[in-house]
Symmetry: C2
Subunit: 345 residues, 2 copies
């Protein structure tokens, strides 16, 4: 790296824009983009500045990949599973129903070959490179105006739930709707929908969903550990000095870690406030969970049958899942089950 | 940061040594130091080079803090709980029996005030600053030549187990010994000890402990998520350009994340090899776990009664623990318990 050494004085001043899928009011998830941008600036002595922009400013929230891929903006902060219509394998980059917790997802991405595989797809199909840059942890299972204990209770229920979680719910008889975050409250209030999911206590509280729907279900089996990511147009990436590439890569680790820590540190206090205001917690029944898991696995088989990328990743993902589930169940799982059994209720 | 901007051409060439507590053969944990060093070099265009050195080269493995504190070396990679003889509150920097999982530990350090509190102690007492730079995940509960099902089985048992785990075991009647990693195999073989703990399957396999002791217990309740850390002498830290400080801080996040991911990705395969070679897994009994947890809490109360730093951290730590346990039990815990219940046995 003596070359880099000699060139350090010549590092360019760069100002990039970053399209994001988030309103700044979701400060934890938008904060993931901000942490990344702040750290890249600090690592480059202020020479490389990235400006995260609210959803809608550069592109609609679910079209960040499109503008990054086209080079209309240098980079973005978004979730890969928004784009499974273009390539279903991208689901694995965020989370899939009955998939990995945050810690397991990190292990698969960083050390199980997941990130490399997804980068190959992104490079060849979308001319971009991406790195994990945030995780919400296990999300909650949504808000319901009436209790849903059995599969029968789900029939015809109108629920706002996008993505693969929505596809699973549709298989279980739910009438699935997709609405942006800003539209949910009113839809729930007018009865246009009977139920909705969003993220977890800290974010859901901001939408005021508890004021309409009394029952708050857990766990969010469709998003057990959702990764957000930074996406960079490959032409722009390839023009960067290696030191700036390293700054983005390393800053993304910090963003990934701190977002999860923030959700973990904030969710329980938000949940307590919701409970004090009248929210009632309900676990999904074994009947619903079992049927949902089977429906999810059926959907993955269907994707694998028609998409080669999905099939290739899914095979390796399943093997990794079986191993890391076994390890976590044995060791960390037995530890947490013991200490939780001793908690004051 | 226009100042930093103007000064970027003047960034110095630095070569630092890093004392570590690890033999390079423990490639995952020593690898945490290496990831940090590699990333700092990459982030500074090769100008800031850090050389991790094997345990014993600069200082004995349990005296890294001493040499960093004295300024005999610029930095180190070690575990804070090796130094609880100097300040018992340092236990919280690594892990304590019946404490946090890796994910919970990160949340407490990064977003629960833990890192800030520990940095105050390190600065005032040891003239150094530290950052999390690795995590082993939940460790295993050690190797036993005979099964231990009850508290009676533990009486007089000779076990190699250092630190707070050893103090808890001593309260339960175990004759506790501390031996370096290189001495364990022979002590177990000659019968000088009846049992030992080390880390987990991937590391334990290297010591060959399974060749002597048949029973492998879980979980490692004394180390549910052990953080390793980089320590930097404060005089050296304060001399660094801000950009180099940022490089260390950010690289430490990567080191923290990738070490955990490596352990998670490797431990189950190592465990399967051990089982195929004859190892028998055993869970700690409810009787032993319950007594060990009570003994641990008694020890923390004793520390708190005689050490103000410990008391101050322990009070906040307990509140954070109660909140994050409640959150994890409700949501991620109910998710993992469901999916693990559906695994093929």
């Amino acid at each position: 790296s003596s070359t880099a050494n000699n060139e350090i004085a010549d590092l360019p001043n760069l100002q990039w824009q970053m399209a994001t899928s988030w309103p700044p009011s979701l400060d934890t998830i938008f904060g993931g983009a901000q942490v990344l941008a702040d750290r890249v600036a600090a690592l480059t002595g202020g020479k490389f500045k990235i400006s995260p922009r609210a959803a809608g400013e550069i592109a609609p929230p679910l079209e960040v990949l499109d503008v990054v891929s086209q080079g209309a903006v240098q980079c973005g902060h978004t979730a890969s599973y928004y784009y499974i219509g273009k390539s279903p394998a991208l689901a694995f980059g965020t989370t899939v129903p009955f998939g990995f917790t945050a810690q397991q997802q990190d292990a698969w991405l960083y050390e199980g070959g997941g990130l490399t595989k997804l980068q190959e797809i992104y490079a060849s199909k979308f001319n971009l490179i991406q790195f994990p840059a945030g995780n919400t942890g296990t999300q909650m299972g949504g808000w319901f105006r009436k209790e849903v204990s059995t599969l029968k209770d789900l029939q015809g229920l109108k629920m706002r739930i996008p993505g693969l979680g929505g596809q699973v719910m549709a298989k279980l008889g739910v009438t699935v709707q997709t609405l942006g975050g800003g539209e949910i409250f009113q839809a729930l209030q007018t009865g246009a929908i009977d139920a909705t999911e969003w993220v977890g206590p800290y974010d859901d509280e901001k939408l005021g969903l508890n004021k309409i729907a009394k029952f708050y279900y857990y766990p969010g089996w469709w998003e057990p550990g959702a990764t957000l990511e930074v996406q960079i147009n490959l032409n722009e990436w390839n023009k960067l000095p290696p030191q700036y590439q390293e700054a983005i890569k390393t800053a993304a680790y910090e963003s990934n870690a701190t977002m999860l820590a923030r959700y973990d540190a904030r969710n329980n206090e938000a949940l307590q406030r919701l409970i004090e205001a009248g929210t009632q917690l309900r676990p999904y029944s074994e009947e619903i969970l079992t049927a949902a898991q089977q429906a999810a696995f059926d959907i993955y088989e269907q994707f694998a049958a028609k998409d080669a990328d999905f099939k290739a990743i899914y095979g390796e993902w399943q093997q990794f899942r079986d191993r890391i589930y076994a390890w976590d169940r044995l060791n960390q799982g037995s530890f947490t089950n013991f200490v939780y059994s001793k908690m004051k209720q």
